[in-house]
């Protein structure tokens, strides 16, 4: 049987890759997907722990997180659409870039 720790390591790796994607990419979609990746990493942890201690709580949590992720995805994509439409009118080329939105600063 595969030790729980291995699952957890995979989970941690996914989480960290998600983080790396979040901080290093400009593309709004990819940043967004990085978050999804992180949530999935967490889910794996939940399930691994769940299995580890033989409790079903983790399953429920995962279930909830998937629902949450769906909601977040909806909102997030709505925001992306909104901003793409608004910004696209002025500077189409960078409307999808996170770095394009820096007017609020200092």
């Amino acid at each position: 049987m595969v030790p729980t720790q291995y699952y957890l390591l995979v989970s941690a790796a996914l989480f960290c890759i998600g983080l790396a994607g979040f901080v290093s990419r400009r593309n709004l979609f990819i940043v967004f997907m990085s978050i999804e990746l992180m949530l999935n990493g967490v889910n794996l942890s939940f399930l691994a722990f769940s299995r580890h201690i033989g409790s079903l709580d983790g399953h429920v949590f995962t279930f909830l997180v998937i629902a949450l992720a769906a909601a977040e995805a909806a909102i997030g994509l709505a925001i992306v659409i909104l901003i793409f439409k608004n910004a696209g009118a002025t500077a189409a080329s960078d409307a999808l870039s996170v770095d394009n939105y820096q007017s609020l600063k200092h």
């Binding site: 290093s24 990419r25 593309n27 967004f32 429920v60 909601a71």
Partner: protein, 177 residues
């Protein structure tokens, strides 16, 4: 299941995840992500979580990612619309270094997770046995019972949350109100 499945699925997931963040075009990234999610579904299954494995495929890889892809398509993102990322690899390197540092900390801690996973026998003893010898643990019945017994309140909250999301999306994305 054989441990080899784990290694295969784990490798696929991690590589797909890495592949996702290295893609220039969001569509291909989305495809990588779907692959990653599928791999994860496999791992879920290995963790005696068949229900979640199915949900992962249906909801995550299916619905959510479909939504993402749909939006990308809807916005008609062409190559020239993509952000100009001159030093993407450098940035990724930095991000990965950060991630690696975190990973080191996490792995050191994970290393200290005590003991082993609960034996299947225990689970069977506690949650009963399905047809075919698998424990009911992780099955739709057990999870459902658990959800509606212990977690009915969170369940209600999540429904409110989804309502909020619906209202929010309508407000944000509707063309003209």
């Amino acid at each position: 299941m054989h441990p080899a499945f784990f290694y295969i699925l784990a490798t696929v997931s991690v590589l797909a995840a890495l592949g996702m963040i290295f893609q220039r075009h969001p569509l291909s990234a989305a495809v990588y992500l779907v692959v990653c999610f599928l791999g994860l579904a496999g791992l879920y299954a290995m963790l005696s979580a068949p229900l979640l494995a199915i949900l992962q495929i249906l909801v995550y890889a299916g619905a959510i990612m479909a939504l993402v892809v749909f939006v990308i398509m809807l916005l008609n993102v062409r190559d020239e619309d993509l952000p100009h990322e001159p030093h993407m690899y450098w940035h990724l390197g930095g991000g990965l270094a950060l991630g690696a540092a975190l990973f080191v900390v996490l792995s050191k801690a994970i290393h200290k997770v005590p003991g082993e996973a609960a034996p299947t026998a225990d689970l069977v003893a506690r949650y009963g046995e399905q047809v075919g010898g698998a424990p009911k643990f992780g099955g739709i019945e057990a999870v459902g019972l658990h959800l509606f017994n212990q977690f009915v309140f969170p369940f209600e909250i999540i429904s409110i949350l989804l309502t909020v999301a619906v209202v929010g999306v309508v407000v944000l994305a509707k063309r003209r109100i």
